[in-house]
Symmetry: C2
Subunit: 335 residues, 2 copies
DNA sequence: CACAGTCTTGGGAACGTTTCCGACAATACT
DNA sequence: AGTATTGTCGGAAACGTTCCCAAGACTGTG
């Protein structure tokens, strides 16, 4: 273990005070060009690297943002993470990644509180997940929180956090209408999403399709496999002309089950997804999906978070538009 | 902004000294049960959370590990990240995620050095990427380094870091032989991987297939799109019975181009990938691929890293076995 | 009852920075 | 020339912990 050089050493070797070194380090003015150059050279010579913990101590800033993700494995989140990380890095914040396996039964809020307690990030970003039980616990976390693509229950008091979402209920309502308008009547659903389910139910009710006629498979997790298994169950128990999945990866899983059954997509069964991940363009047929503006949401999320962190900006709840990507996995009802 | 309570407050309110509070916090013995209970209660009452920066200062430990990933967007890496993060968390280390966009021209080593300078992690994990130019710079980073699935040039001095990989050269050699043994002669390759290319070349040379007969598309990045575009170029310029891709996502991209051309997989063209990502099982036909033991590698990587961090364990270079997953995208040569 | 030994506790010096405040020199102005 | 102003710099007190060292209380033994 070699001894690390510290700011005192640099000061000593440069023949200046620690204050001056500190000023150089932080780019403050009030340092002559000559002194600055001298100190910078010394820093270089001794390969000095400031100690971050000590640095954060006086201002008690950690330069860290916690990102709690409901499954890094989901390409939709992975994509947003890559953007968020880049954006945070630009402001020299580090991203502390905290994966929350959606299969595990631990509550995402617990995960977040744990992260906060241990690492003291200055802000918290949630990607996906369900925000319901025990969310109150997060109020004692006094740092800004932004929920991205997270399902927020209607009864939640929204005054103490920000969010960036699409209007899940409305989008589901619209897509359900779209499906019905193409003649589909025997519709199945895979996925467990409170708001999207609500929008769906409303649309069907308006059209006089009773909820009883709809089969909903609450694919427990958002994974390819869950979609596959759920679709398999559906195909064994009934006959449908359209399967709506609340997530693209579920849809892709479902498509496999349909193929295995020897059925044609969309000839026999249409499949429709939600999210708009890249892989959807590479399956056959291309996935028809409700695309969320992932890049924009990711960028906005750090912008909103920084706003709250730095200027104490008020909480806001942004609703982003979606686009229907017509991929080929959806067509009019068969008969 | 509310004032944060600190260890002094807790000491004061409990009527003890900070030393005692500290001892309770760190689970040292030499504290009477009564005092311990009292302090714990006070901590609870005031919702006190120790300041991490201050905590790390005396021992200068940051409880952080940097993970530099050559593209979080690649499901192969995303999967390993999720495991690594879980594993690190178990030891109450945080994972600082640093995405290195493979499309960008910045060198991965620069990214890593920057991460080290800014955040001072206690260990560094590389996922994927090419380890060649300027890798020497990392020697001045005095913390343990483990490379996972990273291409390490033969000329690299290996004594100062650990690695966990498959034997890329040998696996490529084997898979090339496998392809040839099924009668394929007009083979194309997509991907840019030094070692895998070398193994491939060797195998073909042994079989008397000159490298000139092989068309290699150096898909610049590892992305679906790169695979798609590369395959498109291939199909326009020649006729092949098999396309070997150095990464599954390239293969999946290539499959789309083949379908668009109206060709059958594997009837007209076989496709073979490398990695063994989950989505490979959900495309049609299922992707034949050389599966790397992602889970095992991820687990081993943090185990090796911790070994080096804690016991100053010697550097090691683990080579893991692969499995050939026969998915259906590969068949014997057509004619 | 004196003494040694064990438990428990408090005091205070570190850890490596930042930053406020004041000192000093050099310059500009009256 | 004297004074105000500006530009540079150093001193030293924080920041919130940990941990070593010593002091005090208590127990058991002779």
């Amino acid at each position: 273990m070699q001894e690390n050089v510290n700011i005192y050493d640099i000061a000593k070797y440069s023949g200046v005070s620690t204050s001056t070194v500190s000023r150089v380090l932080n780019g403050h003015r009030d340092v002559s060009l000559k002194t600055r150059a001298l100190v910078l050279q010394t820093i270089k010579d001794y390969a000095y690297i400031p100690n971050n913990s000590a640095r954060n101590l006086p201002c008690s800033s950690t330069k860290a943002v916690g990102v709690v993700v409901a499954g890094v494995t989901n390409p939709f989140f992975a994509y947003m993470i890559s953007i968020i990380q880049t954006e945070l890095k630009k402001n020299s914040y580090m991203t502390i990644l905290q994966n929350h396996d959606p299969k595990s039964d631990a509550d995402i809020v617990d995960t977040a509180v744990g992260l906060y307690k241990e690492k003291r990030p200055e802000g918290l970003l949630f990607l996906g997940g369900d925000f319901e039980r025990k969310h109150q616990m997060l109020r004692l976390v006094k740092i800004p929180i932004v929920l991205v693509t997270t399902t927020i229950r209607a009864e939640c008091e929204r005054s103490w956090f920000s969010s960036i979402t699409v209007d899940d209920e409305r989008e589901a309502f619209n897509i359900a209408n779209y499906i019905c308008s193409k003649g589909h009547k025997r519709i199945a659903v895979i996925g467990n999403h409170l708001l999207r389910k609500k929008g769906l139910d409303d649309a069907l009710r308006e059209r006089g399709i009773s909820a009883a006629e709809i089969r909903i498979e609450y694919g427990v997790a958002f994974s390819y496999e869950a979609g596959y298994l759920a679709a398999k169950r559906l195909l064994e128990s009934g006959s449908y002309t359209c399967i709506l999945c609340f997530t693209d990866i579920l849809a892709i899983g479902a498509m496999k089950a349909i193929r295995e059954k020897g059925l044609d997509i969309p000839g026999d069964i249409s499949v429709i997804g939600f999210d708009g991940i890249e892989i959807g363009e590479y399956v056959s047929p291309m996935l028809t999906t409700v695309k969320q503006p992932a890049e924009g949401m990711a960028r906005q999320s750090v912008s909103v978070l920084f706003g709250a962190m730095q200027y104490d900006a008020p909480h806001m709840h942004m609703v982003m538009p979606t686009t229907l990507i017509e991929g080929g996995s959806f067509g009019p009802a068969a008969e």
